[in-house]
Structure formats: C-alpha cells, structure tokens
C-alpha cells in the first residue's frame, strides 16, 4: 500500500509528466543516432580493406591544354594552380571495380575517373581536380584524392589516398 501511495503521488506530480516527455524524446533521439550508426556502417562496412592497395604516383601541376602534368610531386597548391593526380592502375587485380575521385574542401566531387576495371582505366592515369563550376579558383582547404573499390556501385574501401592542401592565398 505504501508503494502504491508513492506511485500515485508520483503520477500526480507534473514534473513526472515532463520527465516522461523527455524520455520519449530520448527514445526518438536513440532512433536517430541508431539510424546514423546504420548509415555509417552501410557506407563504411567492416572488413573491406583486405590486402588490395593502389599506388598513387603523385600529385603534380597540370596543364589542361595538353592534358599533361609537370614538376615535382607536391602536397600544397595555390588556388589559381591546376593540379592532377597520377595513378598507377597496373598493380591492381582486374577482378575489382575501382574509381578515382577528387573531393574538394566542401566535400564536393571535383574530378573523377571510373568506375571500371583497372585494365579499363589504364589509359586514364591522370586525374585532374576541376575548379567548381562558375568559380575562377579552386576552393581553399584540404582536398582528398581517393582510389576507391566499389561493390554494388557503392564505394566500400579506399585503396589509396592523398591529402592536398590548397592554400588560402
């Protein structure tokens, strides 16, 4: 009876209504965070990095007119400079589907080769980073160049990666 009295008193307390409302929000929040975790695991599945590695020969200045690279391998560029990555596809087995992608500092794709078998991409070793459409210069910040392995049309593993800094000035 004592317990029942406590429970009855507890139920009359309006703070308990607030507490229960908060708990309902908490459940919704857990659903959201779980959905986020599922999304993360879907795009970042475990056990996808077994053994295969690509080779990025380097990132160089790029001349769009003759579609050739020049100069030394670099990791920083000015906003006005054109640059491209050079990938050696020959070391990859032909039973995988791959692509090479440039992501700018906002996460937008600004250059891409593939997807396809490595042997199909041999003719496309130079992958330039394009300026965003409508802009005169590259965005400043960190660019990611990634050679990705795909399954079911979706990137599941990074076989090689280079981070490039585009300087603010």
């Amino acid at each position: 009876m004592g317990t029942l009295a406590v429970v009855a008193a507890d139920q009359r307390d309006p703070v308990v209504t607030l507490y229960r409302t908060l708990l309902v929000y908490g459940l919704i929040a857990l659903v959201i965070l779980t959905a986020g975790l599922v999304e993360f695991l879907h795009f970042e599945p475990f056990g996808q990095t077994a053994g295969v590695h690509a080779h990025i020969a380097g990132v160089y200045l790029y001349d769009p007119a003759n579609e050739q690279t020049s100069g030394p391998n670099r990791s920083t560029f000015a906003r006005g400079e054109q640059f491209a990555a050079v990938v050696d596809w020959s070391g990859l087995p032909d039973n995988v589907t791959v692509q090479a992608v440039w992501y700018d500092s906002f996460g937008n794709i600004v250059g891409q080769v593939g997807p396809g078998k490595p042997s199909d991409l041999n003719a496309r070793r130079i992958i330039p980073a394009e300026k965003p459409s409508g802009l005169k210069y590259h965005l400043p910040g960190e660019y990611i160049f990634a050679v990705e392995r795909l399954e079911g049309g979706q990137p599941v593993a990074v076989l090689a990666r280079r981070l490039i800094e585009v300087e603010r000035t």
Partner: protein, 458 residues
C-alpha cells in the same frame, strides 16, 4: 497550510553542499582538457587553429576570473557590488576583444582582414542580443539574472568553442585519413560535432545547475540557460563561417554575398532553430533533474537531455546533404523549408517542454502565493495573489506605478514583485524537498519584502 509547508521543509545544515565538490571536479577537468588540448595542438600540429587555441586560453582565463568576480559581487553589500560588477564587466570585455583579436589575427586576418571580422561581429551582435532578450523574457514568472544569462552566452562563445577545437580537429584528421569519403565520412563528422559541441556547451549548464542552484529552479530555467549558451556558441560560429566564406569567395567577387548568406542562415533563420534549440534540450534535462526526487532519475534526465541534444545536432549535420539547395530563386524557398523541416520538430519539442514547465510553474506559484497570503506574514497580501500570479496583471500594476510616480516607482514595484515571486518559488522548492537553503532564509526574504513594500508604497 503553512504548518504543512514547514513540516515538509528539508533544511540542510549550513556550509557548502556536496554538489560544489562535483562542480569543482568538472571545472578542473574542463581546465585540464582545455590546457592539454591547446598545448598538444600547438606543439604537435602547429596549425593556425593551434595557436588560436593556445592564445585563446588567456581569454578563457579572463572569462573565468570575470565570472568569479561577478558571482562574488552579489555576496557583497550594494556599495561594493557595483565596483565588482564593473571589474567583471571590464574583464569580460577584454576577454571578448582578445578572443576576437586572436581569432582574427591568426585565422582570418591574412585573408578576410580585421575590418571584415569586426563588421561580421557587429552584424551578429544585435541578432544575438535580440535572441538573448527573447530567451530571458520567456521565463515570464521569474526572469534569470542578466549576469548569468550573459555568462552562459560567454561560455558558449568562448569556452565551448575552445573546448571543441582540438577534439574536432583530431577527429577530422583521423576520419579523412581512414574513412571512405561520402555519406559515411559525413556521418562520422556529424557524430563528432554533435557529441563534442553539445558536451562542451552543456557543461556550462551543468555547472550552473551545480553552483547557482538558487537561480536554477526548474525546466524553464534550464531551457533559458541552455538556449543562452547555444546563442553564444552560434555567435562565434557565425563569425567564423562569415569571415571564412568571405575570404574564400572574395577573390570570386562574391565575398559579401557568401558572408551575408551565412549571417541570414545562422543569425536570422537559425537563431533559435540551431544551437539554441540543441543546448536547450541539455538545459531541459538538467532543469527536470532539478525537481526529481531520486538520484537515478536525475542522472537519467540529465543524460537524456544530452542525448536528445546530440541527436538533434547530429541529424542536421549528417543529413543536410539530403536537402540540396538549388542556385536559383527556388533555393531561397528551399533554404527556409530545409531549416523548418530538419530543425523545426526539435524546436517544437523544446517549446512543448517550455509550455509544460511554465504551466507547472504558474500553478505552483499561484498555490504558494495563496498559502503565503494566508499566513498573514505581510510578505504577500491576499489582494496581491491574483495580480502576482498573472504576468500581464503584474505588468499592468507596474505601468500604473509608472503613470503615478514615474520610473523609480516602476522599478521599486518590479523589485517587490520579483522578491514576492522568489519567496513563492522558495516555498515551492521547500514543499517539494528540493532546496538547500535553511528555513530561516525564507524569513529573511519576508523581511526584505516588507522593506521593499515600504519603498514601493505609492
């Protein structure tokens, strides 16, 4: 009725409650994390944000000292109080200026320039001030002191941003080197922002709850403090985005448009529907915990508040890209719809808690005012009960005082009404056995009210 209230009272012995120890430990951890983050960032990364983080510690220290002096000022007599408040204000001002200077000098001066940084700060000040004014006003029964609202905003702007710089930089550095770029990386970044930023901001509300218990009554107060912290954080984040995007797009001739868009999106459209909403959830959890009887439920409420805030923040950062904005006139509509659809439900959730909290508070205060009037102790008169229980009628009474005797009478009556509501609030907490202050504190308050009544007589 008064006998019942006194019997239910649960006065604690004088001296510092154990929660002060917990607050000291949390403050110590915050300090160690901040200093450690800054030193590690500076020594190992040696990036520009690293230098900002290290030199920003001076600003953080100034804020801490100013807060201490500001809080102490209210333990002093009124003659000394103003001197202490001026000192605290000067230190806070110096901290804000130093932080702006450091941010500007080390992050954006080379590209955006100090003039742009100052212009951006000036553009954000009125909107943030408006946000703080509104947030404070929503606590219609017992407004929180400006000093604590401003300290909350300062924590959000300066301390919380300092706390998260290194953590987010480290998370980002690891994520871009290990994860597949795309939605998975976006989700990882969103977890980082939600978790670290809400912990950094929420710590302020938690410390207020532990240290300033007399000014932290219920869920309404928690929402006010949480939203104030969020508005402070939003101020600094807007400043960062505005100057950064100005620097990026000014060579394209669109720096002003880019900065202006950030200002509108964050200081107008997202003023209440971004960080203010997220951290208000932390405050709501802590405010509800304030009035729960068992320690287990208190902990659950506080943790739940943080989890909801983290989830709300996460959902925006992770799924923003699912609502792309077109670069046309239609984009102007889309940007509004995106904010309303993605953050609106969370803001509505905070408003629901606020409305419930205000209703609980109003009912409880009315009852306590009636009981106090029945005591015939002279603090609340029977004729005053209905007026005090209604914010609009209180305001009308003050206007009447203004009309009859001028601004001084208005202010004196406002003080009297505030003290009477303080007493009702204290009685409510005592009846619920959730108060530290000894019973004599109530009698002291009654004495103060009688004095205020004499001063306010017209």
């Amino acid at each position: 009725m008064s006998v019942v209230a006194r019997r239910a009272a649960n006065p604690r012995p004088r001296g510092r409650p154990s929660r002060y120890l917990l607050a000291t430990v949390i403050a110590g951890v915050v300090l160690v994390v901040m200093v450690g983050n800054s030193l590690l960032d500076y020594v190992y990364l040696d990036t520009i944000p690293g230098r900002t983080s290290l030199y920003g510690l001076i600003a953080v220290a100034l804020v801490a000292v100013a807060t201490y002096i500001g809080v102490r000022a209210f333990d002093r007599d009124p003659a000394q109080r103003s001197r202490h408040l001026i000192r605290a204000g000067v230190l806070l001002g110096l901290a804000a200026l130093l932080w702006l200077l450091v941010s500007d000098a080390f992050l954006f001066a080379a590209a955006a320039g100090p003039g742009v940084a100052i212009a951006c700060a000036l553009a954000c000040l009125p909107t943030t001030a408006f946000g703080l004014f509104v947030v404070r006003r929503i606590d219609r029964n017992e407004k929180e002191p400006w000093r604590l609202v401003l300290v909350s905003a300062a924590w959000g702007a300066i301390v919380a941003t300092s706390l998260v710089i290194w953590g987010e930089s480290f998370w980002e550095a690891v994520a871009v080197r290990t994860l597949v770029p795309g939605p998975g990386l976006d989700a990882a970044r969103a977890f980082s922002a939600g978790l670290l930023e809400e912990l950094g901001k929420g710590t302020a509300v938690l410390l207020l709850f532990l240290v300033m218990r007399n000014e932290f009554d219920d869920v309404v107060d928690g929402i006010v403090y949480g939203a104030a912290v969020g508005l402070g954080f939003n101020f600094m984040e807007t400043l960062t985005y505005m100057t950064n995007l100005y620097a990026i797009f000014s060579p394209e001739g669109a720096g002003g448009i880019a900065a202006g868009f950030q200002w509108y999106a964050r200081q107008v459209l997202g003023l209440f529907m971004g960080h203010a909403t997220y951290t208000a959830f932390v405050g709501a959890g802590i405010g509800i915990a304030r009035q729960l009887p068992s320690r287990r439920k208190k902990v659950v409420a506080i943790v739940t508040g943080f989890v909801v805030a983290i989830a709300a923040h996460f959902s925006w950062d992770a799924w923003l890209s699912f609502f792309p904005i077109e670069t046309s006139v239609l984009g102007l509509i889309e940007v509004h719809l995106r904010t309303i659809v993605m953050t609106g439900p969370f803001t509505a959730g905070v408003v629901a808690l606020l409305v419930l909290g205000l209703r609980n508070e109003s009912v409880a205060l009315s009852e306590q005012l009636r009981q106090e009037a029945a005591m015939d102790a002279g603090a609340v008169l029977p004729a005053e009960v209905e007026i005090l229980a209604n914010p609009w009628r209180r305001f009308r009474e003050r206007l009447r005082a203004l009309d009859r005797r001028g601004v001084g009478a208005y202010v004196r009556l406002a003080r009297l009404q505030a003290a009477q509501l303080d007493l009702a609030m204290e009685r409510w907490h005592r009846e619920r056995q959730e108060i530290d202050a000894p019973l004599e504190a109530e009698d002291e308050l009654r004495g103060q009210i009688r004095t205020l009544r004499q001063q306010a007589a017209f």
